[in-house]
């Protein structure tokens, strides 16, 4: 069965063999030369089983050695992941740094963090949204307290912004839609604050979620911001935090999570219940989506003449897989 059968008339000179078999001498056999599919499949399965058997034997041997050594065994090796291998970013914020603390304490969000204003969010879309985007906006409005959804009516954002400021709104959120699916978000902090433009992906509405709980109530949720470590990450984290009211109502047992991993921000909304001191049960409510920051502009929305604090330049910044910005 394991013989290589050559077709009549085919050149089997030394050079042809070496190019097809890889190593020229001694002549080795490769599984891909068997033309019969069933036989090839069987041979491949056998090869895999052989390999797996050897792997298990090696593992068993190592475990025995480790047990034999007992306390003197070397520590277990940690597998390398991209998060482990992350290139150290020099803009990582040091909690004791006074200059950064002063910068953050007096930036555009200081009015919110000093409890001078309460958040009020205006949610709108690009012109003429289709059903999915409309439902997404409605669900977002239930998740964010004091959020109002308005129909866009083709109005220019630069004209909407002064009117929002006059009516006391602190955020303008515009969900952009493409081919009936939401794909972008512009989040503009209102008095004169930064404007962030995100790419939105993986939007799951409430009815698409499995094992979800009942609709969210009107209680203010708690906010969890994970893994925003660099200076830019801090700014974005504060941008998200200022969307929600200062004091969460713990009675409602609702929590909104913004989890940053590899420059993607994952949004989840859960209701939790403590079964006892150590165990907690969670049910996911509400929409779920993923955000990726594309640009952060200083000042309110002005894409043509505004100054950008950070712009995603894909070919420069995405060249290294282990370097992240947020």
């Amino acid at each position: 069965e394991k013989e290589v059968k050559t077709r009549p008339g085919r050149w089997t000179g030394g050079q042809a063999d070496s190019s097809s078999q890889g190593a020229a001498f001694p002549p080795t056999f490769s599984l891909s030369e068997v033309k019969n599919k069933q036989r090839r499949h069987l041979m491949f399965m056998k090869l895999k089983q052989e390999k797996r058997k050897q792997k298990m034997q090696l593992k068993k041997k190592r475990r025995k050695e480790r047990e034999a050594l007992g306390d003197k065994a070397p520590p277990k090796e940690v597998p390398k992941t991209i998060e482990n291998q992350r290139v150290y970013d020099e803009t990582t914020v040091d909690p004791e740094d006074e200059e950064v603390a002063f910068d953050e304490g007096t930036d555009e969000f200081s009015a919110y963090f000093n409890r001078l204003t309460n958040p009020k969010v205006l949610i709108t879309t690009s012109d003429r949204p289709r059903g999915r985007t409309v439902r997404f906006c409605e669900q977002l409005a239930t998740v964010i307290p004091d959020a109002h959804v308005y129909y866009r009516r083709g109005l220019a954002l630069k004209r909407i912004i002064p009117q929002c400021v006059a009516r006391g709104f602190t955020y303008l959120m515009v969900i952009n839609e493409d081919r009936k699916v939401p794909n972008g978000m512009v989040l503009c902090h209102l008095p004169d604050g930064p404007t962030a433009h995100f790419k939105v992906s993986s939007v799951r509405l409430r009815k698409e979620m499995k094992r979800r709980g009942k609709d969210p109530t009107m209680h203010s949720p708690e906010v969890i911001l994970n893994n925003f470590s660099t200076r830019l990450g801090h700014t974005i984290g504060r941008l998200f935090a200022a969307l929600f009211p200062h004091d969460p109502q713990f009675v409602g047992r609702q929590v909104a999570t913004f989890h940053n991993q590899r420059d993607f921000v994952f949004f989840r909304f859960h209701r939790y219940i403590f079964k006892n001191e150590k165990k907690v049960g969670i049910q996911e409510l509400g929409p779920r989506f993923t955000l990726k920051l594309r640009s952060l502009q200083k000042g309110t929305f002005d894409s043509k003449f505004g100054e950008y604090e950070w712009v995603l330049k894909r070919h420069e910044m995405d060249a290294c897989r282990r370097k992240f910005q947020l």
């Binding site: 020099e90 803009t91 740094d97 200059e99 950064v100 002063f102 910068d103 007096t106 200076r231 200083k298 043509k304 003449f305 505004g306 100054e307 950008y308 604090e309 950070w310 712009v311 330049k313 420069e316 910044m317 910005q325």
Partner: protein
């Protein structure tokens, strides 16, 4: 404090009001600020050298004060209030002419202040909005101003009634609509009267007051977003411009073409300056980094993280790398000559790019050009030998 400030070869002003000095040889950054308190109204908007010996810096803040910082002592020595920020706006330019301080504010008022007086000696109205004022390095009493819907004007402080040169807007476009103008930065080209400006409508324009036409002599476009900063490469034939997206480009002023881009910035550029003798350009901006790029091969030489957004930048004329000793500089020159002989074939492309045989070498030949000329001749000889 004093020894730290003497090491610094790059000075930057930030939005938090801190004056930062960076020593590149030691790769360290130092903060110099007034001990009392930090506050946002101390935000530094303009920086300039107070004297040609570069021993004192003038720092203009948003609250209308101009502070003097001594690099020898490492302290702020004096502070004077020049104007009321509520009606004037922030500083857009600072200069020193014949011992008098010249300030320009956003509302268009160009004022000259004498020593220790809180009332200005001279006031010129330079338009409704001025975004930048720059002083000519050759004629210290000439300044240029420009702003939004306010074209380039060159003023002579000794004859302040009329501008020496007032630029005219370019012709209407193909729909016969007036082209908007917004001058954001300008520079005087040494060796002639010409002034190059960059605009918020992504144009770079060269004006020549010596010629009878008041419209730009050369116009070039770069990018799609406003150009915020401009720096002249010593030599006068190219400029480095930066825009709000953080793109830095090297443009040639002979034809108006983009020679190349400098990569690395991720935020809007606020200030650019080329070093007087070495072919490097320093840039700072909203992404809180100081970056030094080499102009010859457009690579990043140094990158320093300074924790606040940076508004303005000043380079000391002395060599950037060496803080104290001149011996290191000599060693570097010797190494460079040895490397040149090895890299003879690599030098081929460089000669064609610069087009040196076509250029007329002026009396101000720099050492580098001479070395390159020598290198070229030696390379040609070797080529013949190989044939």
């Amino acid at each position: 404090m004093a020894d730290r400030s003497r090491l610094c070869s790059v000075w930057l002003g930030s939005e938090t009001g801190i004056l930062k000095g960076v020593s590149l040889s030691r790769k360290q950054a130092f903060n110099f600020c007034q001990v009392s308190s930090l506050s946002r109204d101390q935000e530094v908007r303009a920086l300039c050298w107070a004297d040609p010996a570069e021993s004192e810096l003038l720092v203009g803040s948003v609250n209308g004060t101009v502070k003097t910082f001594s690099t020898e002592k490492g302290l702020f020595t004096e502070s004077r209030s020049c104007g009321d920020p509520a009606e004037d706006g922030a500083f857009t330019g600072l200069a020193v002419a014949d011992g008098a301080l010249v300030t320009c504010v956003e509302s268009g008022k160009l004022r000259v202040w004498k020593e220790e007086s809180s009332v200005h000696v001279l006031e010129v109205d330079a338009g409704k909005s001025v975004w930048r004022m720059r002083q000519s390095p050759e004629h210290r009493h000439r300044v240029a101003t420009g702003g939004k819907e306010n074209g380039l004007r060159i003023w002579d402080l000794q004859r302040p009634e009329q501008p020496v040169f007032a630029a005219k807007n370019v012709r209407n476009d193909f729909l016969d609509l007036r082209r908007p103008e917004w001058v954001r930065d300008m520079a005087f080209i040494p060796g002639s009267d010409k002034v190059v400006t960059c605009t918020g409508h992504h144009e770079v324009r060269v004006y020549d007051p010596a010629s009878p036409q008041r419209r730009p002599v050369l116009e070039a476009q770069y990018g799609e977003v406003p150009l915020t900063a401009l720096a002249l490469v010593p030599g006068g034939t190219s400029v480095v411009v930066g825009n709000t997206h953080g793109q830095l480009a090297l443009l040639d002023l002979r034809k108006g073409l983009v020679r190349g881009c400098l990569k690395g910035l991720s935020g809007g550029v606020r200030a650019l300056q080329c070093h007087a003798s070495r072919p490097v350009v320093a840039s700072c901006g909203l992404d809180r980094f100081l970056r030094i790029h080499s102009l010859e091969d457009r690579t990043l030489l140094h990158k320093v993280y300074l924790k606040s957004r940076l508004n303005c930048l000043l380079l000391a004329s002395r060599d950037l790398e060496e803080g104290e000793a001149a011996e290191e500089g000599e060693k570097k020159e010797v190494k460079e000559e040895e490397e040149e002989e090895d890299e003879v074939w690599d030098a081929m492309e460089r000669v064609e790019e610069r087009g040196e045989p076509k250029r007329k070498l002026t009396g101000e030949e720099e050492e580098e050009e001479e070395e390159e000329g020598v290198r070229r001749k030696s390379k040609k000889k070797r080529k013949k030998g190989q044939d």
